[in-house]
Each structure stands twice: as C-alpha cells, then as structure tokens.
Amino acid sequence: MSDESDYHYDEEIDADNHEKIVENIISLNKIKRLKKPARTEPTSRISEFDLVKSSKSGDVEVDKLSKALGNKRKLSQIRQKLESTKKKSYTLPKPLEKPQSERIKRAVAYERNRLLLDRWEPFVTSNRAQAHLKFPLGEVETLSMQAKEAVKMTERWTVKSELEKELNTLDAVETEEYIIEDENESEFPLTLEELKEKRKEAAKLRAHQSFKEAKARRQNKIKSKKYHRILRKEKIKQKLKEFEELQKTDPELALKKLEEIEKARALERFNLRHKGTGQWAKNKQVRAKYDKESRQVLAEQLKISRDLTQEAKRVELDSDDEVTESNTSTANLNAVNINNPWLSKAQSSKEMVDFVSGYRKFWMEKNANDLAISSEAQAEEQSQTLIEPIKVDENKDVELERNNQGKRTINKTKINPKKVVKVNQFSEENKSVQVEKDTKVTKRKTTGQEQQKKKLMKSVTNLSNSSGEWNIDELFEKAEHTILKKIKSKTVQNPNKTKQTSKKLGNKKSVEEKDTPKKNVTLDMPTQKKRIVIDEELQETLINQSETGTNSNMESLKNILASKTTPQKDHSVNIDPSNFMTVKTPTQLGSTVPDLVEDDLPDEESYRNLVMEAFEDDDVVTDFQKEKQEEIDKEKPQDIDLNLPGWGSWAGTGIDPKKARKRKRFIVKMPKTLPRRDDNKGSLIINEKAASKVKQHQVTELPFPFKSVKDYEASIRAPIGNTFVPHTAFRRFIRPAVETKMGTIIEPVSDSILMSKKRG
C-alpha cells in the first residue's frame, strides 16, 4: 500500500513537475527563438542579425481569420468574398535573381539602342559611298514645322478641367502645323535697335507679370476674414454697378452678363457654403441645443443661403426668361447638362454628387443624434454609397465588352489585367467577368493602366448621370482605342519586359528561345572576317614550281616580299604568220629620178653608203636570225651540271661509255621559260630585260576592293589630268571628297536629318 501510495504520491508530484522538466528539456533541445527586430530609433539600416525566423505557425492565415466570422448570415457576403479572392489570387512568382534580371535588362536595352542606331545605317552608308560630301550637311532646305504661335499663346491662359485635358489627349486633335520657310536670307532679321526694343518689351511684360503674381500671393496670404469680406462686398458692388450701367448702355451684353451671374449663383448653390456642413457649423449645432446665440448664428447662415436662392429667383423672374419652373435644383442641373455636356460641368457634377451625399450624411448625422444607430450599419451604408457609382460603370464596361467580344479578341487580353485589379477590389461582379490567368503585364504597367482606368471611370460616372447611352459607348470606344494603342506601343518597345514576370525561371529561357524567331528584327552576328584572297582571278598555271619549292628558306621569302620586282615577265603567245618576213611585191612609185648630180666630192658617209650598196648582202637575214638565236640562248637559264670532274669516267679497255646516262642524274634541268614576245616574229628581237627599271614603279600587289588584276588595271586606265580630259570633266575628277563651307559651324548630325528626304 505504502508503495502504492508512494507511487501515487510520486505520481502526484510528478504530474506537475514532470511536465515542466520535460518542457525545459525540450526547450533546451530546441533552437532558440530570435526576437523580432524592434526598432527603437529610426535608422536606415537594420542589423542583419535581427533576422526573423520564418515560421509557418506565426503567419496570419486568412482561413483562420475567416473562421472568426462564423456562420453568421450577415457576414456571409464577406466570407464569400474572401473565399473568392482565395481562389483567384495566386502567389506572385519569385522575382528573378539579380544577374538574370540584369541580363534581361541589358538585352532589352541593347535591342532598343540597336534599333535606334540602325536608323542611321542607310545615312552612314550613303555618306560613305558618296564621292563628294559638302559640310554642313543638309543645306538643301531648312523647313521648320511650327504650330501656330498665336493659338498656343491663348491656350496657355485657359484653364482646363481634368476631363477636358483627358479628352484632349484621347482625341489627339491634330494641331495645325505650318511650314515656315526660312525666308530670312540675312542671318539677322532684326537690327540691333529692334532687337533691343523687343527685349525691353519682353522684360517689361515679365516684370509686370511677376508683380501681379506677387500681389496675388500677398493677398492670398492675408487671413483676416474681415478683409476678405470687405473685398468680396466691394467686388460685388463693383459688379452690380457695372451691370446696371451695362443694362442702360448695352442690353445685349448685359444679358450675357446676367447669364454669367446666374452661373455664379448656381455655383453658389452647389457648394456647401452657408449650408451648415462645415466644421464651424457642426460645432455650432452641437452647442445649439443649449446656446441661443449659436442657434441664431446658424439660422443666419442658412438664411444667407436661402437669400441667395431667393434672390436668384427674383432675378430670373425679373429677366423674364422662359425658364420659370426651374425652381428645383435637379431640374436646373439637368438643363445645364443638356445645354453644355462637357464644359464646366466636370467640376459641377462632381460637386453635385458630393453635395447630395454630403447633405444626406448631414441629415443622417443629425438623425444619429436622435436615433443613435449602430456604427456598424452606418459604415456599411457609407461604403455602399461609395461603391454605387462605380458599380454602374462596371456593369457598363462589362456590357461593352460583351458586345465587342467578336470584334476585338486580341484587344481583350490586353484590357483584362486592369479588370483583374478592379475585380479584386470589388468582388461582387467577379463572376460575370472572365479573368485570364496568364496575363503578362508588369506591375508598373498595371498601375499605370489603373490610373488611366480611374480617370476614365470618373468621366464615365459623370456621363452616366446625365447624358445618353450612345454617348458613353462612343466615348468608351475612343478611350479604349487610345489605351490600346499606348499599350501596344509599349509592348512593342520592350517585348521582353512583358514576359519578365510571366513564367518561372526554368521556363524563361525556353520561352525566349521560342520567341526569338518571331521577332521581326533579328540579331545578326557580325560576319566573321574572311581572309582576303589577294587575287581570285589569277590563274596562271605557269608557276615556277621549283623556285617556290626551294623557298623554304625564310630569308629568301623575305627578300621576295620586300623586293619590288622579279625579273621574269610573261607575255601572251600570239602566232601570226604574217609576222614572218614576207615577200611582198613592192609597188613602184611614180617618182622621178633626181637629175642633179652632186657636184661635191662624195664625203666619207656617202662613200660608205656607196660601198654598202655595191655589196648588198643577202646574208643580212641569216645574220639577223643568228643574232636572235644568240639572244634567246643568252636569256635562257642554263642547266646545272653537278657532275664531278672525272667521276664515272674511268678510262680503259672494256668500259662502256654508254653508262654516261648516269650523268643525267646530276644535271639539274631548268624549267622552260615563258614564251618570248618576239617568238614567231622573224624580223624582230625584243630585249626582255630592258623594262626592269620601270618595274620599280609598277604595282606589285593588288589593292583591296579589287578581285582581279584586270579590273584594277581598268580602274586606273583613264587619265584625269586636264591635259587629257576636258576641263569640266577634269574638275569633276578632282573634286575633293569633303568640302567644308568656310566660316560656318559644322554641327554634329542630328536625327532630324533622318526624316528629311533630300540630303546634300
């Protein structure tokens, strides 16, 4: 028993302690938790040792949070939303590693710059090919495109609403551009005095402007309400005075003025002035229950507003306008909208919405004081009101999408990403909108599109209240079109960027490889430098083989390379039978015999001639032939006999002298020489060696652009000197490659020259 009890006791004790001990032991074994870094001071750096241990358990999961919602019916919507987001959302792919992303960036940058540089290619080649360039380039015509100055000037001073600006960008109205010819032959169209005068005037204008600005700023800074009130009153008085005067003098203008005043009144009615919505009014309202004074002040405020409206009515009645029933603000508003759908109602309509909601809110708050509704409900309602206008837009967008599905399938993909973002925000309509999952748009771009979309939405909301359906459609189409254009241009510019986030790292390369052939621009490698073939045409078969064979010695090769000439020369063989000493029968000329006998004694010369004539030699021809043969033999290279004297020439009986054939082995035969020029020309001897001095001046290497000797020779065949060609042609030949105009600054080429068709 005792044992048992002991055991029990032990157990009892252990139950507490043991757990602690185990926990302690386990905790010892566990890796220590690192504290999350808590910054006490704002620093730009966070210590790397304060790294947070990533742990799954610590993460906040949406599921867990949504559990808290329970099965309440009220919250079913939220739960649904969350679930849908969970379905639709996906984790963003891990950003690429730095070297890879850098590489992509480089590639994109390279591509862009290459395209930029490629534009210059034809210009550069045409300039290089031109035999004559005149600097400064592009002197032909300098046309400058300028928008009409006056129009721009006035545009500068008009204030445009946000919507107008947006519309301008969408419409992209072609600004009228005028070709302004450079008519100022003289470089200085104005004289010095005129210039000075002009500058003075400009300075004056600027100074005046700055003064006014300073004054306005000063006045704006004045906080005194009294001052402003006085100012306003003064202004009103002034205006009324002017108006009355106008009524007398110029009734038409007065009418216009009246309209203006009406407009101002309308504005007054729209905005929340004197409506008791401001902070001041609210404070007063709080106090109004107990304080009479504040109640009075409030009443006064409201009365002002009433006065303003009443006054307006009175004015309207006074002016005998057709619009008599337009008491209510809404009717008035509509009228304005119909008359002028775009102008100024951008602001007003928005304000109207604000006003309506604000008014409602005001009354709700007022009611809140009395009824005390739960804050939750109020928040919900508020959100609802906020969503409402956008909802409408959303629906329309979708409708439009459906209508145009057939037409623009390609475009859709590009629009969708915006939608995705939107849908995430407002998950109510997500079922109606198809979302493509493989959208390939970078975040930056989507944000940009978002902004655009927002702007668009704004305009649409404005429209939706007032104008007709067709108008919206048109607008949408336009807007979409422009956006599409923008997107397209962007995607074309950097096709790689869009792919950046699309797929995982592994797939990345393959995708790129696949895509490369699709590009309309190929990256062609610089062609490998070919070895220059010095002479492709040259196909002389009579190459001195033995000589080149023995050229293994470097010295000799060097000599050949350095030498200007080689003694050899080739000539084409032309056999012409007529070249042999032909025996022509000489024609007898009808000349007369000189009748005069020289009275002088024959001198030495004539005596010799006489002797020659007497012994006219028929051997002349044979002598000449012999001489020629000698000449030929002399120039022929001799075979080299390497026989040693006495070798193999044993004397004695019984020795066959026929064995001398062995001697042939020791005779080095010289190759056959090239045919002589005077071959087959019996009565001619040409000295082949004589031209050696000219060879020093001859070209021995084929210069670059030519592939054959013949073409090179053809290129230098024509003389260019003025003694050979007419002067006009001569001037054409010697025209310098580059001419520069004296006294002009030669600017570096700008890319505007790429646009001009004519170039000098």
Partner: protein, 584 residues
Amino acid sequence: MGKLTVSNDMAVAKESKSKDIIEFDVSNVKSKPWGRRREDRFNEKFKNKQRNKTSSKYPIDKVKTNTKSKKEKKRRYEIPEEVLKKYSKGEEVNLKKVHTKIHRTKIEQRERNVKFATEFAAKTEVLLTEETGFLEADDGETTTQFTQGAIADSVDITSAAKQFELKLEFGPYRSRYTRNGRHLVIGGKKGHVAAFDWVTKKLHCEINVMESVHDVSFLHLETMFAVAQKDWVYFYDHQGIELHCVKRLNKVTRMEFLPYHFLLATCSDEGYLSWLDVSIGQLASQYNTNLGRLSIMTQNPWNACLCLGHAKGIVSMWSPNARDPLAKMLCHKAPITAVSVDPTGMYMSTAASNRELKIWDIRKLEGPLQEYKLVSAPSNLAFSQKKMLAVGHGNIVEVYRECCTSTAKRPYLRHRFNNPIGNFNFCPFEDVLGVATNRGFTSLLIPGSGEPNIDSLEVNPFQSKAQRREAEVKALLDKIQPELITLDPAVIAEVDVPTMRDKIEAKKNLLFLKAPKIEYNPRNKAKGKGGSVKMARNKKILQEQAIREFSKSTKDLLPNKPNEGKKKKQAYNVLDRFLPKKKS
C-alpha cells in the same frame, strides 16, 4: 586648176568653262530609314506588287510615256560612233568583281565620270571647226602637176607669204621647227646658225659658230637651241649667246629633243648614244651602242624611244634605261638611209639604199604595211601631222598622201630643187614643208599636211610671253622621268604580275615555314656536372627559344595582320612638346 585651200590656223578653245552642276543621287535613300532589312524587303515586294497592279490596270499610259521619252532621247545630239571610239579609254571595271557595296558605288561613280569625260571630249569635236586644206585636181590633171608657184598664186596672201626661199651660202643646211611650228632654226655646215620666227620673218639671231655644224635642235622653247658642232654640243639662247658647251656630248651627228622628258638625245660619230636632261643639266644616260657610226636617228613621239637606222638594214630602238636596244627590226636587206615616225607614233617609214621604202606598224612592231620601190634611194623621210610622207632623194622632194593604210601610186606633190637636199621637216599646224638644201632654205606649201585645229593647252603657236612662261613651268611640273621610257608607255598602269605572283607564293609558303633546328654542341662538361638528362633539357630550352624568336620574326610578314595600318594615334598631350622630336 581645181579648188585649193590652205587651212587657216585659229586658236580654238576646247574648254567651255561652264559651271559644274553635279546632281547627287538620292534615289536610294530609304524613305523609312529605320527598321531592318526584312521589313525593307517586304516593303519592296509590296511596292513591286502595287506597281504590277497599276501597270496591268493602265497599260496604255505606260506605253505613252515610253514613246515620249524615246522622242526626247532622239532629239539629243548623238555622238558619232567612231568619234566616241577615238576617245574611248577602254573597258570598264567589272563591278561584280569588286569587294563591298560602298566601293562598288564609288567605282561606279568614277566610271560614270570617265564616261562623261569621253563623251564630253567627243562632243567638243564639234568645236574643231577648222578644216584641213586640200588640193583637188580636175579631170585629166594630177595634183603632182601643180607647182609651188601655182599654189602660191591661188591661195590667200597670208598663206602665200608662208612660201619663201632663203638663199644662203654656208650649206649644206639643216633645219628644225619648234614644237608649236612658229620658229625655225637653221644650221649650215660651215658654221652659219640662225634662229627666226619664220612666219613674221623676224630674226632672233644669226651667228657664225666658226665650226662645222652637224645638227640643230630647239629645246622645249624657242628661247634655247642646241647646235651639234664639230666636237661638242653648244647651247645658245635666241639672242645667239652661248649658254653651255657640253663636252660630254662629243662629235654628235644627230640630235632629238624629247619634250615631255626634257631630254636631248644625241648620237655620235663614235657610236655613243646619250640623253641629256636639260632641266637639270645632267646626263641621264650615255653609252656606246657598239654599232659604229650613228647618223640616222629619229624619235618615236609616242613612247620617246630613239630609232636608229643601221647599215645592216636594222632599225633599233633605244631607251636610256638599257644598254641594249629595246627592240631590233630587220627592215631592209640593204643599209638604211632614212627613218621617220609619224607624230602619233603609229607608223614608221624606212628607206634603204636598195631604193626601197617601207611603212611599218611601230606599235605592234609589225609590218611592213606597205612596200614601195623608188627610182632612187631616198635620203630623207618626214611624216606630217596628217600622215603625209615627204620623201627626199637627190634634189627632189616628193610628198605622198595616204601611203600608210592604202597603197599610194603617185606622189601628191613634187618639188625639184637646184641643190641637193640637206633635210626637211613638216611644220606643225601649218601646211608647210621646210626644206633645207645645200644652198639655203625653202618653205613649201603642202595643202592638207598640217593639223588645222590647235590644242592651245598643249602647244600654242600664238602664245604670248606670259603664256610661254606658264607653259614652261607646267611642262616642268609634268616632266616624265627617263625611267619610264619603254616600248609600251602604258606599262606604268599595269600590274607587275610575275612579281605579284611570287609575293603571293612567298606569303603562302611563309605559313608552312618551320622553325630552323638548332645544332646544340655542348661544351665538354666537367665530370659529375650534369649528365645527358641535363644536356637534353638544355637543348630543348634552346630549341624552344629559337622557335619563339622565329615566330616573332615571321609575325610581321604574315598576311592579314590585324593591327597593320591601324595604329591608334595617341591623343596629343600638352607635355608632349617637351619630348624629343621624332626624326622622320
């Protein structure tokens, strides 16, 4: 008697000094310079398609335009084919055999310029309005019948004045005209030398050199002339003042002046040929021909070679660059008595003592084109600018027309003198033959012998003093070096093919050249200091060293050296001025 005219000389300015208007070809500039070839090609294709479409749609329009252009073309002046051929410079470069597009376009432009030049030159023939003179015989008459007196009677007074006779007593005489044909120098054997403007008959100088005179020749201008006297050659100016006495030109028999080379070529009694550069006063070359006495010499104006006539019937051609003749032609079987080459350098006429007269094609060194047999052996021959050949034998001068390409039957004109003929020359740009005889000088009118149209930039008979000076300077600047005197003057524009081929071969062989094996003879080592292993190692080291050196030395010689000619110039540093100057 028929018609007769003597051409009047008129200076015709060949050049029209119109301003050049050079249009640049901008047709190949792309309208869309950006983008890549593929796109461009696509565009081009598209264009072609469109064109085709349009052409198929409106075929009539196209035809219309074509006809219009044809008509326009027809209206243009068409240059006669033969005139174009005359000025043609030969075959064009084959553009397919030229590397790179840019070079191709450049060469194309050049070819266009050449074509323009030839066409322009052919067109300017229109401006050569002067016509050659001629003699026309009536039926039953021959031109040979007309005496000088008859000719002089029927021509205008200025032409008639060109016919004159000088009766002098110090003969036999020799004469020579200047290149422009305005001045004349005569030298009598007995020492009488005179230079004068033969048109105006204004005497420059008249001197007695007190020595035998063998030949006279003007230098590049009328202001100076050379006289080959008994021993030496003397130079005189137009006032008769002796400028030089060149004793190295000894016993000169004949002289020729090569105007483009500024060389006075002489041949001597002792068989010496010499070329004296008169612009620098130095002998370009002088050597013995070993052919004995040389007394027949003429120059070939086309290639500036000298043609010598020899007793063995050979005509040899010489340049100052070779001791041996450039070529020898066996022309006759008898001693040659006279040689003459026509001013264009196409034909050579030779005459021998066996009364033969032959015409040769001197450019091809072929012939004879024509063979004639005369009644007596001619002692003198002279070609005129219009290829008329004057043949002198004894006291008779006969002029033959069109005797080179076609066979002449009888002389065009004949003149008989009372004295034997010394020598004669046709006067350039005049229809005049100047004959120096034993007893004076006679100027004969030979209608149609001279070139009527003058290229005043080449030689100007009417040049003023200033023009003469300018022409002298220009001629000196354009002087051709004596090394370029060869049989074929166009050889300078040719590539020396054999040398080039050898160079290419050498370059190829250089690639397969092995480094030489060294012979390693180690010293006798002391005992215990390194064995065969160490020796082998040393040998290897040395061999490798040799290979390295060899490859280094061949590196510069190898073709396609990448850095050749592309040495980057270092930017000029301010402190570079203190560096020692490089000796160029």
